[in-house]
């Protein structure tokens, strides 16, 4: 299990999503990716994509217009 961090501060959609997809492609079962974002559009796109892809996804609001998106690759795909 490993945690990775992806900094997408200052980046507008769809860049954070494209980078997240790329990063998740390199992850193993049980790994956690934390994405830092400050564009609200990514809050709509990234969790939507991640959940549809079968990952678990939660968001922490870390400040005014700043979020951490936590995406976990499950050991077995949950539904």
């Amino acid at each position: 299990m490993a945690d990775r961090r992806l900094n997408c501060l200052g980046e507008a959609c769809p860049i954070p999503l494209v980078k997240t997809q790329h990063e998740m492609g390199k992850m193993k079962d049980g790994d956690l990716l934390i994405v830092d974002i400050d564009h609200s559009c990514a809050i709509n796109h990234i969790p939507g994509w991640a959940r549809a892809a079968g990952y678990n996804c939660e968001v922490e609001e870390t400040g005014e217009n700043r979020w951490e998106i936590h995406i976990k690759r499950p050991f077995k795909k949950e539904t």
Partner: protein, 320 residues
């Protein structure tokens, strides 16, 4: 992984206008209140670029600004927020549970304010272009990607036509795919007239989407004429779908009464029929789905939750 258990008086599912309004009432009544939201606090109204019919804002306000104010007011009354999706609920027992990926929340009362999701066309290729790859549901959010470009709008209701007119401020051309015969739209008359008079708006009557085409990003939408069956590709830089909404009620099947199309049925007090479970906002079967009506529902549901619970020896108990 062990899930963490937490106790609340009221758990509200959905942080749109209805959930926030319910939160303000429950929080102000001194109840320990949690709002769980799976995307952005503010819900669907975040997509509205101008709200001119919500009383108190005669100068118009963007949906996002208005929702920030709602949130601030809820926070003032001590409402807590958690940004994650609810995966499972058990609403029938007195000790109700609402489960997320890492937590199990226990509550005396649950308010369902989960609104709805934009409807998809179901056409070939659609999945590939969702989430910022060319198919969008929010003109305010995405308009600036399309400066000087060509976009297609699917739908002819108020949202479709109003958002189309808004997009002409940025784009070179807006083509609207309408499934009805020439000149027939579902939008109100005033907006229709504005759209028809707008030189940047073109209409493709009698059409529905056949497929979405492109490599990484969307480059064309193939429209099908429903009268002749003829297929015609329209080259576009982006496409906006405004073909209605579906209520987000999958989680509540077999626990709460709903209509055939999935809207939750309540009485005038927003009660679902299951003691301590209320529904508010767009998710309900009702006459008009607006911010103002969502706020009204939320107020009633929040007050209803307060009536359902009373505090005894510093502990919240349910009224029998």
């Amino acid at each position: 992984m062990e899930k963490k258990h937490e106790q609340y008086d009221v758990v509200i599912i959905g942080g749109g206008a209805a959930g926030l309004s319910a939160g303000i009432y429950a929080g102000r009544a001194g109840l320990k209140t949690l709002i769980i939201e799976k995307t952005l606090i503010g819900g669907l109204a975040n997509n509205a670029n101008e709200i001119s019919n919500y009383p108190g804002f005669p100068e118009e306000i963007s949906g996002e600004e208005l929702m920030k104010l709602f949130k601030k007011q809820a926070e003032k009354f001590g409402v807590k927020f958690k940004l994650t999706d609810v995966k499972k609920v058990d609403l029938i027992p007195e000790d109700k549970t609402v489960e997320t990926f890492s937590n199990i929340y226990h509550a005396r009362a649950v308010i369902v304010a989960s609104g709805g999701q934009p409807r998809l066309t179901g056409a070939a290729g659609e999945e590939r272009f969702l989430y910022g790859r060319g198919i969008s549901f929010c003109a305010t959010c995405d308009a600036d990607h399309y400066i000087g470009k060509h976009v297609l709008i699917v739908g002819s209701g108020d949202a479709a036509i109003e958002e189309g007119i808004f997009l002409t401020r940025f784009t070179d051309q807006v083509t609207v795919s309408v499934m009805h015969s020439e000149g027939v739209m579902d939008a109100g008359r005033i907006v229709q007239a504005q759209a028809l008079a707008n030189p940047k708006m073109k209409f493709r009557w009698n059409t529905v989407v056949d497929s979405f085409v492109g490599k990484e990003e969307l480059t064309a939408v193939v429209l099908k004429n429903i009268k002749t069956g003829e297929l015609s590709p329209v080259e576009v830089d982006g496409c906006f779908l405004f073909i209605g909404y579906e209520p987000d009620t999958e989680l509540f099947k077999e626990q709460l009464p709903m209509t055939a199309d999935g809207y939750l049925v309540t009485d005038e007090q927003m009660q679902t029929g299951v003691p301590g479970v209320f529904a508010a906002g767009d998710v309900r079967q009702k006459f008009i789905r607006q911010v103002s009506t969502a706020v009204g529902d939320g107020a009633i549901a929040g007050a209803g939750a307060e009536k359902h619970i009373y505090v005894k020896d510093g502990k919240a108990v349910c009224v029998e």
